[in-house]
Symmetry: C2
Subunit: 242 residues, 2 copies
Amino acid sequence: MTNASGRDDATFPQTPVNQVKRAPDRGRYDKKTIYEILDAALICHIAYVVDGRPYCTPTSFWREGDRLYWHGSSASRMIRAQGRGIDVCLTVTHLDALVMARSGFHHSVNYRSAMVFGQAHVIEEAEEKLRLMDRFIDRVYPGRSRVIRPPTVQEIKATTMIGMEIETASGKVRDKHVADDEADYEAVPAWSALYPVSQILGAPSECPRQRPGLARPDEMADFAPGARLDEVMAKAHRRTFR
Amino acid sequence: MTNASGRDDATFPQTPVNQVKRAPDRGRYDKKTIYEILDAALICHIAYVVDGRPYCTPTSFWREGDRLYWHGSSASRMIRAQGRGIDVCLTVTHLDALVMARSGFHHSVNYRSAMVFGQAHVIEEAEEKLRLMDRFIDRVYPGRSRVIRPPTVQEIKATTMIGMEIETASGKVRDKHVADDEADYEAVPAWSALYPVSQILGAPSECPRQRPGLARPDEMADFAPGARLDEVMAKAHRRTFR
């Protein structure tokens, strides 16, 4: 996919900002891979700079097209104070396995991660902000914004929504078994294995003050006890944004 | 616990850097809570600044006393270039539950997170570096550094170990059920619940080139299929650093 200027729109150009430096063979620059990693996540970590000092804040977020959104953070105060966007790096990491090798050097983990770079802005426009507040719920629980109480004026005021155009990004993926130095397989008597890791949903604990007669909505069928959160989030994202 | 200067050594003083700003009632400043959150984690996210731009890198790490350690990152090049430590914020997040409420405003997640601030330095001293490379393995797999092949000179050279004295830190914890506005429990017919989330180990997949006759070592007993990774990591930390 190339655009009028001949640029490949499906891939982020490699620059000093987004280039994967350690283990560059694990680097991924195509949007499809990077967006799949983002859309399978509920939580990200956002780095930003205040008074020259870095901060790393965990928060929920979601992607719509080439934009990312999240809600109020310590950064919002600073964005407002500056009256303009601030640089952020938003990172998502899925841990998929522990990998035990025959040397310390080859111990590893399997993972899928994405680092996204751009400028974060506060969404001030009231209608857009309200739309995003609903999207924030529906991204996790498709259709739920229709059944809950709508936000009050006070709640809208108390909520800061932040948006960011994706300027550039990179993904990084390790997805393989134990990979030792050839001589070590035979020479080193260390039991070696890969342990899968996944983030799993448990059985729902209903609100103790549930209104009598309310049943779990069909829309929650994917939230099955034992389901993988990354798969549930990816499905929810497809249902809400397809 | 107070020291000679009357300062409470068991708690980090609240300053503009580490103060929890959103939902301050969830803030924790005591070392016990913060260190438990750190020691239950294998992966952290580290924010640092290069050329005025923030980066957020996921990596493995561990705590020894009031210090944190991790290995080579893009930051290491910069630390060396500067010839001095650089400011970092190292953040750990455990996601514990999804919390569905009757209003968007009260949707939440349960979590335990910690943000740690300090200056990262490259560990150049050869003996200390070698000790840390073993610790890095033993922190996850207690005792394993004794059974694997020791690092080669080339591997030691290719590995950057980074250390950081904890200057200040804060924790943040949400650990409660659905908490709605009083009127909404009765008025809003939205099925509401809490879904527990945990990171779980699967059954080990042995290296296909396992040496015949090698059995899983007793030290791996905690790594049971279905075990929670945070609990396994907390136990491993206690076994290695007690």
